[in-house]
Symmetry: C2
Subunit: 75 residues, 2 copies
């Protein structure tokens, strides 16, 4: 399973992050808080159509907006 | 892989949600926005020690607090 930007090294999962705004294509978002294995917060989105996993930049405002929109959105 | 509270039915993943505050035990949190398959926002935490996946209540204030703490926390 080739995971764009995901590290092979078990410590941190992300090598690079996606700069394009892919909000509309996101099926799920997984948050990995800093841990003994990786000192960085990592945010990995799974894309709807391909199921591909893509690292998002935790410091990018649009990423936080997506997360806020997901958890605040009322059906 | 027995997933506490997770549905066998592919539509929604969660049948029940965890009411105890398990913030300290969380390795990662995955957010599943409402979709054609499931009209509910679903939040699934993976526990550190066991790797067990547990559904969290999206409407519980402590759950939102955990997510905010994860994405706002600076290392």
């Amino acid at each position: 399973m080739s995971l764009r930007g995901l590290a092979v090294d078990p410590r941190c999962r992300c090598i690079e992050t996606e700069s394009r705004r892919i909000g509309k294509h996101i099926k799920s978002v997984e948050l990995f808080p800093p841990s003994p294995h990786c000192k960085d917060l990592e945010i990995i989105a799974t894309l709807m159509t391909t199921g591909q996993e893509i690292c998002l930049d935790p410091s990018a405002p649009w990423v936080k907006k997506i997360i806020d929109r997901i958890i605040v959105k009322k059906p």
